[in-house]
C-alpha cells in the first residue's frame, strides 16, 4: 500500500488554447489527506478533470503507482460538486453505493457476494448502515457527502478527488466527514479535496497543495501552510500564460 503514489509530470491542461494548469510537477503519496488550495480559476477543477480523463491534457502524464491513466479508471474516483444533481432521483443510499461496483461489474455481470460485501463495508465505514434504505434527499448534507464517498469506497478506488466536500457543512458535520476521510487515508488511500475555507485547513488536512495556474507549494500542512505561501497563491492574479 505504502508504495502507491500518484505522479503528475509536466501536466498542462487548457480550454480553447487558454491554459488552466501549467507544467505541474508533483508527486503525491497514498495515505494522506491533501487540501488543494487556490483562488477561483486556479485550475483546481481542471486538475481533477485531467486526472480522471474528462479533459485531455495538452502535455504531461498522470500515473498511479506506475500505471498509465487508461488502466486506472476505477482506481480514481471523482466526486464533483453536486449543485445540479436531481436529489429526487429514485435511488436509495445502498443503491447509490451499489453504483460504485458498476465499473468492476461492467454492463452485464450479476451482483455477487463480493460486491455485497464491498457495499456493506463502505456503508459501515461511513456510518450509514442504518440509513441504507433512505432516499438520498432524506439525508442531511454531511450524510449525503458520506454517501457519495461510500460509493467511491465500494468502487475500491485508491485515489479520491473531492470538489469542495466541506462546503455548506456545519462544524460537527465537518468533523465527522474529516474523521471519515482520515480513516480512508489511514487505510493507504489518497484523498485530495479542493477547499476554500483557509481557517479549517490545519484542522482537516495533513498536506496542502497550493495551486494558482501553476504549482506554488506542496508539503505537510505543518511546514507548507505558511502566510507566505497563502499570500503567493491568493495575493497575485493567476498566471494566464501571457
Amino acid at each position: 500500500m505504502a508504495a502507491h503514489r500518484l505522479s503528475i509530470r509536466n501536466l498542462t491542461v487548457s480550454y480553447h488554447r487558454i491554459p488552466a494548469v501549467h507544467h505541474l510537477d508533483v508527486e503525491l503519496r497514498c495515505g494522506n489527506c491533501v487540501a488543494l488550495l487556490g483562488p477561483n480559476g486556479a485550475g483546481k477543477t481542471s486538475l481533477f478533470k485531467a486526472m480522471v480523463g474528462l479533459v485531455t491534457p495538452e502535455t504531461g502524464s498522470i500515473e498511479l503507482g506506475g500505471h498509465g491513466n487508461a488502466n486506472t479508471r476505477h482506481e480514481i474516483a471523482y466526486l464533483p460538486q453536486r449543485e445540479d444533481l436531481d436529489w429526487n432521483f429514485p435511488i436509495t443510499v445502498s443503491g447509490l453505493v451499489e453504483m460504485g461496483r458498476y465499473t468492476r461489474l461492467g454492463w452485464w455481470r450479476r451482483f455477487g457476494r463480493e460486491d455485497a460485501r464491498a457495499v456493506e463495508r463502505a456503508l459501515s465505514m461511513m456510518e450509514l448502515t442504518d440509513l441504507a434504505d433512505r432516499q438520498i434527499q432524506a439525508l442531511s448534507g454531511g450524510q449525503q457527502q458520506r454517501a457519495f464517498i461510500a460509493r467511491a469506497l465500494a468502487q475500491e478506488a485508491h485515489v479520491m478527488l473531492l470538489d469542495e466536500p466541506f462546503t455548506g457543512l456545519d462544524k460537527p458535520a465537518q468533523d465527522h466527514l474529516s474523521t471519515a476521510l482520515r480513516r480512508i487515508a489511514a487505510e493507504g488511500n489518497l484523498v485530495i479535496a479542493s477547499h476554500h475555507d483557509l481557517h479549517t485547513v490545519p484542522h482537516l488536512f495533513d498536506q496542502v497543495l497550493f495551486l494558482n495556474g501553476e504549482l506554488i507549494a506542496f508539503g505537510n500542512t505543518a511546514d507548507a501552510f505558511t502566510p507566505e505561501n497563502i499570500e503567493r497563491t491568493f495575493g497575485t492574479p493567476a498566471f494566464s500564460g501571457h
Partner: protein
C-alpha cells in the same frame, strides 16, 4: 347477474376489440417502460413538441406514397430528426436557448403540416392525427409496434447501468468511461422510434399520455429505478386496457378514455401515495420525525424546563 357478466365479457368477443386490446397492451407496455426516462430526464415537453412536429413528415409521405405505413414511418422519422437537429443547430449557433428553438420549430412544423395536408389528394382528418384510431389497428400497425418494442426494450434493459449512471451524474459517468453522449443518442433514438410507432396507431395525445403518465405515477410510490421501469410498463399496459374497456362499456371515445384513465390513476397516486402523496403530507405533523416527536412529548411544557430550546 348473468346479463351483467355477459356485458363485461362482451368486448372480448369482437375481433376489433381483441386487436385493440393487444395493441393497447403492447403500446402501453413499451411506452410505460420508456416513460421512466421521460420523467427522470424531464423530457415531457420535448416529447410533446417532437410528436407534434412530425406532421409535415407524415404529410409529405402521404403526398408521395399515399397512406402506405412504411412511407409514413420514414416521413415521421425524417421530420423528427430535422426538428431535433434544427433546434440543436439554432441553440448552438445563436444565443437562442434550445427550448425556445424547439418550441418555435414545433409550431412552424405543425403549421407546415396542416398546409401540406390541405393540398393533399388523400383526405386526412387532423383529428385522426391527434387521437388515432385504436379500434381500427391494421396488421401493419401491430407489426410496427411489435418490431419497435423488440428493438427498444432489450436495448434499454441491457444498457440499464450506463443509462442510469449517465442520467444521474453525467460527469462521473464519463470519468468512469461511460459514453454519455452515445447513451443520450440511444435514448433519443428509442424515444423517437417508440413515439412514431405508437403515433400511427393511437395518435399524438394518446401516445404522449402513455409516454408520461405511467412512470410519473410509479415515481410517487417508489425510490427504485427498476420499479419505475417495470412498474411503468405494467401500469401502462393495464391502465390502457382498462381505459379501452371502460370506453367500450360506456360507449365513449376510446383514445380519450385511455388517457383519462391513466390520468385518474395518476391523480389518485398523487393524493393517496403513502410516501409522496399529498394527503399523507398534509396529515403528517410538520418537521417532526418520529424520534424527535417522542423527545418532544417527553419534554416539560415551555418555560418550565431547560430542554425547550433543543427542539425549536
Amino acid at each position: 347477474m348473468d346479463a351483467f357478466l355477459a356485458s363485461l365479457a362482451d368486448p372480448f368477443r369482437h375481433e376489433f376489440m381483441q386487436r385493440a386490446l393487444l395493441g393497447c397492451a403492447l403500446i402501453g407496455f413499451t411506452n410505460g417502460c420508456l416513460s421512466t426516462f421521460i420523467v427522470l430526464r424531464r423530457l415531457a415537453l420535448m416529447a410533446d413538441a417532437l410528436a407534434h412536429s412530425l406532421l409535415p413528415g407524415l404529410a409529405i409521405a402521404i403526398l408521395l406514397f399515399g397512406l402506405a405505413p412504411g412511407g409514413l414511418f420514414l416521413g415521421a422519422l425524417i421530420a423528427a430528426l430535422l426538428v431535433a437537429l434544427g433546434s440543436q443547430l439554432i441553440a448552438n449557433s445563436s444565443r437562442i436557448k434550445e427550448d425556445t428553438a424547439l418550441g418555435l420549430l414545433f409550431a412552424c412544423s405543425f403549421s407546415l403540416g396542416l398546409v401540406l395536408l390541405s393540398i393533399s389528394p388523400v383526405r386526412v382528418e387532423i383529428h385522426h392525427y391527434l387521437f388515432g384510431n385504436i379500434l381500427g389497428l391494421s396488421d401493419a400497425d401491430l407489426w410496427t409496434i411489435y418490431v419497435v418494442a423488440i428493438l427498444v426494450l432489450p436495448c434499454l434493459v441491457a444498457l440499464e447501468r450506463p443509462l442510469l449512471l449517465s442520467m444521474f451524474e453525467p460527469s462521473v459517468a464519463a470519468s468512469q468511461g461511460v459514453a454519455v453522449n452515445a447513451m443520450n443518442l440511444i435514448l433519443m433514438g428509442a424515444l423517437v422510434l417508440t413515439m412514431i410507432s405508437s403515433l400511427q396507431a393511437v395518435g399524438v395525445i394518446l401516445a404522449l399520455g402513455m409516454l408520461i403518465a405511467p412512470a410519473a405515477t410509479v415515481y410517487l410510490f417508489s425510490d427504485s429505478y427498476s420499479a419505475m421501469f417495470w412498474g411503468g410498463g405494467i401500469l401502462g399496459m393495464v391502465g390502457s386496457c382498462l381505459g379501452l374497456l371502460i370506453s367500450f362499456w360506456l360507449n365513449l371515445p376510446s383514445g380519450s378514455c385511455i388517457v383519462l384513465t391513466l390520468g385518474v390513476i395518476f391523480l389518485l397516486a398523487l393524493l393517496l401515495s403513502p410516501r409522496y402523496g399529498l394527503v399523507s403530507r398534509w396529515t403528517r405533523r410538520r418537521h417532526l420525525h418520529e424520534q424527535s416527536l417522542a423527545r418532544w412529548d417527553s419534554v416539560p411544557p415551555p418555560g418550565s424546563g431547560k430542554h425547550a430550546h433543543d427542539h425549536d
